[in-house]
């Protein structure tokens, strides 16, 4: 399976099952399309000659040369590569998995009242509550006990608003640091916060202990304050922006993300990204489409999609401009490492929810991920007894891209691994379903991300800094670099 598209002056061909990405000229673009359509070989050259009759530089010999290139890449397995992975996908139930990461819901309460919050203002459609140190301590022990020989363990302080239980966050990090060496583990803590509770003490702690922080900000003041309000209905922008700026400045280059949500009200979301970059000084950016009940006023619509596509392309082009100017910004969904990215096992198996990743409620219950918390049908167990609903865990083990009929003909299937199980459940009632709107947005983002990679490979102003993208010509293909 291949995917062809044109963007920003580039003709791009993606070979789905080899992972190859090709930048081609117009003739090759048309020739590949004819081969893909099953056109008899004898008919291809006449059709191309007819199409390019006003282009004297396109000769019969040129076309034969182009078709020879296509044949060579096909023989190398880099074009029209077959799907050789499906049989592996169904061994997944018997594979051994370890728990790699926990999402600690240290607070099921919040000091903001954001109307679009999937967590129902932090309470996840249940009772408010704070995680005790004892429950959190047991969760960390559960992670160590179930992580096998894995060295790095990820723990995210989440909510609700985790800083409403900051003392327990500090105690849990101190506990983890006290035991990690004896277990040959390295805890990597992250914090996801709305910013209201940030103090100098929080900044010092986060910059010492958290290798990454996610800071929630929707962009322009009027956009942010439309939804991100406190319980009295007051917007949060003026209170949180100075705190975020102080925290980021103090991080000294350590990881962070400004994480915004865009809705039907700000389909021009690049203006929010550019506001955060140009007016506020943030360079690590993420902006996510709202996932909410269809028909709600903030829900994105089919009519919004063309505008969203334009916005994603505009962002990609602007990021290239900024890179050339020596002032790059990072957009979460455009980060791709083509040469050293994920193996096919990762690309099939997906995010790890329910098997490698679990969410822990303030009361110690385990769920497949933070978006399932509060749905009793998806309770896996608890941190004292472990995973008791093994049938549910096995269902998530098998919830890979090959288990979703809706993904069968999608060119992006090995870039998303079948998408988000929670979004699928909420959109279709089945974790094996497909959240089609999210798929459309995802495919556009991957097209843009790949275009950036092509530009970085071919644009003479950018290529010297991206030598890793250049193909190794005539390397003999010994496999040593793999």
């Amino acid at each position: 399976m291949i995917h062809q598209y044109k963007q920003n002056g580039y003709n791009i061909v993606v070979d789905v099952y080899s992972g190859s990405v090709h930048a081609v000229d117009e003739l090759a673009y048309d020739a590949i399309a004819l081969v893909d359509a099953g056109t008899p070989r004898a008919d291809i050259a006449p059709q191309l000659l007819a199409k390019y009759k006003d282009h004297p530089e396109v000769t019969q010999a040129d076309i034969e040369d182009c078709l020879a290139d296509i044949d060579e890449l096909t023989a190398q397995g880099k074009l029209f590569a077959p799907d050789i992975y499906e049989s592996h996908a169904f061994d997944f139930k018997n594979r051994s998995t370890v728990v790699k990461a926990l999402c600690l819901h240290v607070a099921h309460t919040c000091n903001l009242n954001c109307e679009y919050c999937f967590a129902a203002q932090g309470k996840f459609h249940g009772d408010a509550g704070l995680m005790s140190f004892e429950t959190g301590k047991r969760a960390l022990d559960f992670l160590i006990e179930n992580s096998g020989t894995r060295h790095n363990l990820e723990v995210d302080f989440f909510g609700g608003e985790p800083l409403m239980n900051f003392e327990v966050c500090k105690q849990l990090v101190a506990y983890a640091r006290s035991i990690e060496k004896q277990h040959n583990k390295n805890f990597r803590f992250t914090l996801t916060t709305n910013g209201i509770g940030i103090t100098d003490e929080v900044i010092e702690w986060a910059n010492k202990e958290c290798y990454n922080v996610v800071l929630s900000l929707d962009g322009r003041k009027e956009v942010n304050d439309r939804f991100r309000k406190d319980l009295a209905g007051n917007g949060s922008y003026d209170r949180i922006v100075p705190k975020f700026q102080k925290l980021v400045k103090a991080r000294g280059g350590k990881g962070y993300y400004m994480r915004g949500t865009f809705t039907h009200y700000n389909v021009d979301f690049t203006n929010d990204l550019f506001h955060m970059a140009d007016d506020l000084g943030f360079t690590e950016l993420s902006m996510e489409p709202v996932v909410t009940a269809p028909g709600s006023p903030e829900a994105l619509t089919e009519e919004d999609l063309p505008r969203l596509y334009d916005q994603y392309e505009l962002l990609a082009k602007d990021m290239l401009r900024r890179e050339k100017a020596g002032k790059p910004i990072t957009f979460y969904h455009y980060i791709l490492d083509l040469a050293h990215g994920p193996c096919v096992y990762k690309r099939i198996s997906g995010c790890g929810s329910g098997t490698e990743y679990m969410a822990v409620t303030p009361w110690g219950d385990l769920y497949p991920c933070h978006q399932f918390v509060g749905d009793a049908a998806y309770k896996l167990g608890n941190v004292w007894d472990g995973v008791t609903n093994t049938a549910l865990r096995d269902e998530f083990k098998l919830c890979n891209v090959y288990a979703r009929p809706g993904c069968k003909d999608c060119w992006a299937r090995l870039y998303c691994a079948g998408g988000c199980a929670a979004n699928a459940l909420h959109a279709t009632g089945d974790i094996h379903g497909v959240y089609e709107y999210g798929c459309k947005v995802f495919r556009k983002r991957i097209e843009c991300a790949l275009m950036i990679k092509v530009a970085e490979s071919l644009d003479p102003d950018l290529a010297p800094a991206h030598a890793d993208l250049a193909p190794a010509e005539d390397c003999g293909d010994c496999g040593g670099c793999e």
Binding site: A31, I84, H88
Partner: protein
């Protein structure tokens, strides 16, 4: 090749044999494709 330039990408078929170590992070809303391989 005159007509086609191929970027340097990880060979998916080969990763059947040299992948699957499980050292990479889980990957939530980086995403799968963005995930760096952490093989030792």
């Amino acid at each position: 090749m005159k007509h086609i330039q191929t970027l340097n990408t990880r060979d998916m078929a080969k990763s059947l044999n040299n992948g699957g170590c499980g050292e990479c992070q889980t990957s939530c809303s980086c995403g799968i494709a963005n995930q760096p391989c952490e093989k030792k």
